[in-house]
Symmetry: C2
Subunit: 203 residues, 2 copies
């Protein structure tokens, strides 16, 4: 194997469109695996265990936490979500690049254990667009809207830990930004030491 895989972390506030961006990115790039999360929430219609999520009971999930089986895990709306560590590490060791789409809190946990990963913050470029996406235009109660924006503000505070900011005002442009970041990172000299050494030692 020439090199270890690169771990890409896609994060940002709710309403930024992380999931949609990831879906498009995965369709357009080779050699990139997505990590399937573990969750305690019930499957929605059409969701398949092991494909969309690994569905587990709360007891099973808690046991996995105890066994230190997660790269990161968070609770949201009374359910737990986690990224299984062993699978991601196996892929990386096999030289496969892996991408995670996670909340900013989870990303902070991943960062402590994986400073070499590439952290990408997805966000609309301005406040108006974010409030629009968080349905703060009268379609939900003012209280819900307030709460969502409050959470988003906390999430933005973590932006200073990210390597890249990918603006998502236009899906196509944001997808291209993320694809460029993946392409560029793959060509970093420090990630291709063997190639560099081979070139230096030209016979």
């Amino acid at each position: 194997m020439d090199r270890k895989g690169i771990l890409f972390v896609l994060s940002g506030p709710s309403g930024a469109g992380k999931g949609t961006v990831l879906k498009e990115v995965l369709q357009r790039v080779n050699g990139l695996a997505v990590s399937v999360s573990v969750t305690t929430r019930s499957p929605r219609p059409g969701e398949i265990d092991g494909v969309h999520y690994h569905f587990r009971t709360k007891d099973e999930f808690k046991q996995m936490v105890k066994n230190n089986e997660f790269l990161e895990h968070v609770s949201k709306f009374q359910n737990y979500y986690g990224t299984p560590k062993a699978h991601v590490e196996k892929l990386l060791n096999d030289g496969m690049d892996v991408i995670l789409e996670i909340e900013t809190k989870g990303a902070a946990k991943v960062r402590r254990a994986n400073p070499d990963a590439v952290y990408i913050f997805i966000t609309p470029s301005n406040y108006e667009e974010l409030t629009r996406r968080l349905s703060c235009r009268g379609t939900e109660s003012p209280e819900v809207c307030e709460l969502r924006l409050k959470i988003a503000k906390t999430e933005y505070k973590s932006i200073k830990y990210y390597d890249y900011i990918a603006i998502n005002d236009n899906l196509e442009e944001c997808v291209n930004t993320v694809l460029s970041i993946i392409h560029a990172e793959r060509n970093k000299r420090i990630r291709n030491q063997k190639l560099a050494e081979n070139l230096i030692q030209l016979k």
Copy 2:
């Protein structure tokens, strides 16, 4: 102005195809200026002063060196080549990104003064391809071929100072790699501090 421009340095051994890659890159990206070099060699048919090169006499060139007017300058085949400093710095201060296509020796000089620039090493992926491009297949004397390869080997030793390696076995792929690097670097969080601060301070 939101941010200072980014300086991109395209380098690599002779025969790597730097010039061809640059030409294609410039046609496909916005907001990127190329620095016009100063040279003491005679214009070739069709070359325009101020467009392809700034043509100067050796005395004029030496005076510019004395006045510290170059970002880098080298001699090659009894002629001098240099990158004028003032023009590049003005563009960068105006927020324009600038790309230089220079020899590895010149790149080393630029690096000392500009550690924040982005250094891209262009190279074919293997020795056979390089010897082919350096006309080492009987079309030139063995001595000339030997000399060219010896110089290339010295140039490869500097690869460890570069941020990226862009393999040029296929022009289209190499151009895409360089375009991705430019796109990704423009989206680095550290190059967009003002944007990051605005997002943190959402009202």
